[in-house]
Structure formats: structure tokens, C-alpha cells
């Protein structure tokens, strides 16, 4: 029983991790709470759905399409909601991304309607029994995609030239610019990566819950924020581990304490972390303002 719950927790946590990675990357380079990230996740889920239903693509095509569409949307959001807004007012970019959140969510409601849509089953269901645990092929697929994406990203951040530039900008904007890093380019690349991953997370979430709705973004955004904080602001590996942890904690508290208390736990963790370990579980830097 407990192993089964742990597997479920891992599944839930993997999608939290993917959303939080984008948050933490964007927070790292821009020092900005990018409110619209949850809606990018939602758009990804819908792009995936349409590619499967109307274009007849398989799940890989849907994942790739959602990734590309969301990366493009992320870049557009930089140009409409972040670039034109003055940087010296801490609240202005927050409000403009809130505006973008409202626009994206209601565009989805306008074109699709406020109801839930069923996500098609594109993977043939097989159940694997390993000892006391039962895993479905969908679950394995989701976990596999999420984990390999995270590993790829980790290698990219730690070992590529662009990854080093991203880390440098996250450490200090001015110094990085002085040392010849093209900060604008880094911001764009960060949004491409973060939003692309959020798009994949959206499709995976649709696969997992087999339904999606225009309102799925807000919940994902809030959970992503908690995970970002747990892992330490701007800390990518931290967000990966913290997401898996939060997923397990939620599933375990839902299974053994009660489903309504599940959210209570994640928010209690949020508050405790803020009060006692604002640097996150893995002790990265704190951010002074914003």
C-alpha cells in the first residue's frame, strides 16, 4: 500500500517539478514572479489535446507540438508583458503578467468553454505488477518523459555554455553583462526552456488526469510556487527534488489523513519554510527584494 502511494506521489510530484523548473529559471534570471506560467501549462495541455484529436498525431507529436507552441508563447510574453514594462517598479511586471494570466485563461474559456474536456487515451493501457505495486504504462510514460527531461535540462544548465550564462545572470545581472553575457538573449532562452517544459507538463497532466480545463493553470501555478520556494529560489535541481517531495507528501497526507487536508499540508509547509528556512531546503542564496 505504502509503495503504491509513493509511486502515485512520484507521478504527481513529477508534474510539479516540471512547472516549478520554469518558475525557478525565470525567477533566477529576472527576479520576477512570473504569474502567467500556470496558464502556459494550461495552453500546453490544450495544444496537446488538439494535436491528438484534430491532427491525429501520436503522443510524441503532441508533446513536441505543445513544447514548441508554449516556447513561442513564452517568447511572445516577454515582448508583450515584460520588455515594455519599466524594471524599476517592483510591482509593474507582476501586474502585467497577472494581466496576461487573465487574458490567456479567458481566451481559453472563450474558445473552448468553461467545461472540462476529456483527454484522449493515446497510450495503450497495460498494467505491470511488480510485487505489491501496480503501475500502468501511462504512468511509466509520464515518469519517463519527466525524468529524462529533467536530466537533459540538468546537463544543459551545468555543462553547456548557454547554461553557464543562465547561471551567471541568475547570480548577478550586472556582473554577467559586464563579462560579456548577452542578458537579453539569456532571458529569451530561459523563457523558451521554461515555457517549453511547462507545455510538456501540461500534456503529461492531461494524460494523468485524462481531462483538462481552462482553469487548471491556477492550481499548477500555486503548487509550482510552493515547490520553487521549497527548492530554493532560482535553484533548478532543488526544484526537481522539491517537486517530487511535495507530490509524495500530498499523496501520503491524502491517503492517511484526509483529502481536504492535503492542500492544508502543502500550505503549512510553505509557511514553515518561509519562516524557518527561506533559502529553501537545500540552502541557496536568499533574494533581498521582490
Amino acid at each position: 500500500m505504502i509503495y503504491q502511494q509513493l509511486i502515485n506521489g512520484l507521478m504527481l510530484g513529477a508534474s510539479y517539478s516540471l512547472v516549478a523548473i520554469g518558475y525557478t529559471l525565470i525567477f533566477g534570471v529576472l527576479n520576477l514572479l512570473y504569474f502567467a506560467h500556470g496558464e502556459i501549462f494550461m495552453v500546453g495541455a490544450f495544444v496537446g489535446l488538439f494535436l491528438v484529436v484534430f491532427a491525429g498525431l501520436n503522443i510524441y507529436g503532441a508533446l513536441l507540438g505543445a513544447m514548441v507552441a508554449c516556447a513561442a508563447l513564452g517568447v511572445i510574453s516577454v515582448f508583450v508583458a515584460i520588455r515594455p514594462v519599466p524594471k524599476d517598479r517592483p510591482l509593474a511586471p507582476l501586474i502585467s503578467t497577472i494581466g496576461l494570466t487573465i487574458v490567456l485563461q479567458n481566451l481559453a474559456v472563450y474558445f473552448i468553454g468553461g467545461q472540462q474536456l476529456a483527454f484522449p487515451e493515446t497510450i495503450r493501457q497495460t498494467l505491470y505488477h511488480v510485487g505489491p505495486i501496480t503501475v500502468s504504462s501511462t504512468q511509466l510514460f509520464i515518469l519517463g518523459v519527466a525524468v529524462s527531461l529533467m536530466l537533459l535540462l540538468w546537463v544543459f544548465i551545468e555543462h553547456s555554455k548557454m547554461g553557464r550564462a543562465i547561471r551567471a545572470v541568475a547570480e548577478n545581472h550586472e556582473t554577467a553583462a559586464l563579462l560579456g553575457v548577452d542578458v537579453n538573449k539569456v532571458v529569451i532562452v530561459t523563457f523558451i526552456i521554461g515555457s517549453g517544459i511547462a507545455g510538456v507538463a501540461g500534456v503529461l497532466d492531461g494524460l494523468k488526469n485524462s481531462s483538462i480545463s481552462p482553469f487548471m493553470g491556477l492550481g499548477a501555478a500555486v503548487k509550482g510556487l510552493i515547490v520553487m520556494l521549497l527548492g530554493g529560489l532560482g535553484n533548478v535541481p532543488g526544484a526537481m527534488v522539491a517537486g517530487l517531495m511535495l507530490g509524495m507528501i500530498e499523496i501520503l497526507s491524502a491517503a492517511y489523513i484526509g483529502t481536504t487536508e492535503r492542500d492544508l499540508f502543502s500550505f503549512l509547509i510553505l509557511i514553515l519554510i518561509l519562516l524557518f528556512r527561506p533559502t529553501g531546503l537545500f540552502g541557496t542564496r536568499t533574494v533581498e527584494q521582490r
Partner: protein
């Protein structure tokens, strides 16, 4: 006070706009010391549930339960304010967001206040509009007085530079705690007014989007002057009504008379788009928020823009 002057529909719009104004001032109070709170919806919930329980289960009259609800929310605010003192910026934003969510989980799981079914049959208060107008007047007078007092200047200095303020001998801890508690109290009052107007609420009534909306009221209106929250809340709350009126005006235009092609097309597009539908209205709302931050990132009203119209300056000049 306003009986017979306005119809029920207008009255309810005025009441909810007024409650938005009060909520905006509740955000403005801690914001004056630089604290950005996403917990104001949570404090509204505390006040709303407190007042609803008092009037419905203990037969307390609304006139008495309203201040009690405000004070109770204020106390909760001070209790949350203590830990909130240690952190600022994005951490405070997340802390208050977490507080608001915890309040809504409690409202969802506590059957005494309705639980998942929501809180029904809250006694209706027929004189809410009088209360709302009275409270807004008091708030404006209060913040007007505050802006010119040493207390208000101390708060502004904390907003601008906390360390410098502390060095100048300002008791930063007490100021911030006072501002946070005051904001929570005002929010509690707004929530209580809401509860007895709507007569129904559940765990989603005071959600994150409401907290975000309250924040946008102040930022759009202008956070540097006490007229800002009023302007922001009124403009943003009445925007949908304005869009609706705009469509009625469009119908009066003699567009069919002209043969100018784009005018017809633009007319048709606008007419279709302003068709009063929630999603479209919210898309326009979001676009206006984004545009606003590009064009006037300090908000509609700033101290400078107000000074330009002020008679006082003219007298000194």
C-alpha cells in the same frame, strides 16, 4: 439614505464597488510601509465568517458584529504580522498567499461554518450601502490625515528605505505591525459587509484571484497617494458596466448611413466583442492591465499628478 433614488441593480453594483474600495484600502495600509500582501482576501474571509457566525448563531445585531469582525481580523493580522516582519518582498507575497489558502481550506473542511456546502442564509443587511459609504468616507479622511502626520511620513520612509528609516530612529517593527494589523482590520470589515450583502459564501468566495484583484486595484489606481485605491477600485469595478454602456452607445451611432467600409467592419467587431460575456469582458480587463503597466506603471494617480491639480500649490506659488 438612498432609498427611492436608485434601483436595486444600480444599488447592488454600488455596494460591491464600495466593498472593493474598502478592500483596496485594506491593501493600501500595509503597502504604505512597503508590505505587499496577497492575504487580504483571507482577512476578508475571517471577517465575513466571524460576522456571519455572530449574527446567525448568536443573534448579535449587525451593527455590533461588524466592528467585532473587524477587530478579530485585525488580531489575526497582528498574529500573522509577527512572523511576516522577518521577511519581505516575494517571501511576504508567498507567505500571505499561503495564509489565504489555509483560510480557504479551513472554510472548506470546517462543518460548523458550512464546509463544502458553503455558508447559507446569512442575515441580509438592507442598509449595507449606508455602511459602505460611511466607511469609505471615514477611510479617506483617515488616510488623508495620515499622509500629513508624522506617523504617515514614518510609514513612507519605511517603504522607501527600511534601513535608513531604522537609523533615523523610527520603530520599524511597530510601524509595520500596526500597518499590517490595520490592513487586516479593514479587510475584515469589507468581508463582513460582503457576507451580509451576498448572504451566501463558500471556501472559493475569498480565493487567490480576489486577493490578486485587490492588489491590482491599488497598483492600477496608484499606490503613492490615498486617492489611488479609490480610483483603482472604482475604475476596475465599473469597467464592465462601462463596456456594457459603450455597446448601447454604439447602437445609437448611424454607422449604416456611411458607406465607409472599415467603419462598418470596426463597428461590427466592437459590437460583437462588447456583447456582454464574462470571458470577453475579462480578456479586455487583462489587456487593460497590461497596457496600463506599460503606459502608466505608477498607477492612474500619483502624488505628482495630483499636485498639478491641487489648489494648495497654487496658493503657495
Amino acid at each position: 439614505m438612498f432609498d427611492g433614488l436608485i434601483d436595486g441593480y444600480t444599488q447592488s453594483i454600488l455596494i460591491f464597488t464600495g466593498i472593493s474600495v474598502i478592500a483596496a484600502y485594506s491593501f493600501f495600509a500595509p503597502f504604505k510601509t512597503g508590505q505587499v500582501s496577497l492575504g487580504q482576501a483571507g482577512f476578508m474571509a475571517v471577517g465575513a465568517y466571524c460576522s456571519a457566525v455572530l449574527t446567525q448563531k448568536f443573534d448579535v445585531p449587525f451593527a455590533a458584529s461588524l466592528p467585532v469582525a473587524g477587530l478579530f481580523a485585525g488580531v489575526v493580522g497582528v498574529v500573522l504580522g509577527f512572523p511576516a516582519l522577518r521577511i519581505k518582498g516575494i517571501y511576504l507575497l508567498l507567505l500571505t498567499l499561503g495564509f489565504g489558502e489555509i483560510i480557504s481550506v479551513i472554510a472548506l473542511s470546517w462543518d460548523y461554518v458550512g464546509g463544502a456546502q458553503g455558508y447559507r442564509n446569512i442575515p441580509f443587511n438592507p442598509r449595507t450601502l449606508d455602511y459602505v459609504v460611511g466607511i469609505i468616507v471615514v477611510l479617506i479622511l483617515f488616510f488623508r490625515r495620515l499622509e500629513r502626520s508624522s506617523l504617515g511620513r514614518a510609514m513612507d520612509s519605511i517603504h522607501q528605505d527600511e534601513t535608513a528609516a531604522e537609523v533615523m530612529g523610527i520603530d520599524v517593527v511597530r510601524m509595520k505591525l500596526f500597518a499590517f494589523g490595520l490592513g487586516a482590520m479593514i479587510a475584515g470589515i469589507a468581508g463582513a459587509l460582503y457576507a451580509h450583502q451576498a448572504t451566501f459564501m463558500d471556501s472559493t468566495t475569498f480565493n487567490i484571484m480576489l486577493a490578486v484583484e485587490i492588489l491590482t486595484f491599488v497598483v492600477v489606481g496608484g499606490g503613492s497617494t490615498y486617492w489611488g485605491p479609490l480610483a483603482g477600485a472604482v475604475v476596475l469595478s465599473l469597467l464592465p458596466e462601462f463596456l456594457r454602456t459603450l455597446r448601447e452607445w454604439l447602437e445609437l451611432l448611424p454607422v449604416g448611413m456611411t458607406n465607409f467600409f472599415p467603419a462598418d467592419r470596426i463597428y461590427d467587431f466592437l459590437h460583437g466583442f462588447l456583447d456582454f460575456e464574462n470571458a470577453k469582458r475579462l480578456i479586455v480587463y487583462g489587456l487593460i492591465l497590461m497596457l496600463m503597466m506599460i503606459v502608466r506603471p505608477d498607477g492612474l494617480l500619483t502624488r505628482d499628478s495630483l499636485r498639478r491639480f491641487s489648489f494648495r500649490k497654487a496658493r503657495h506659488a
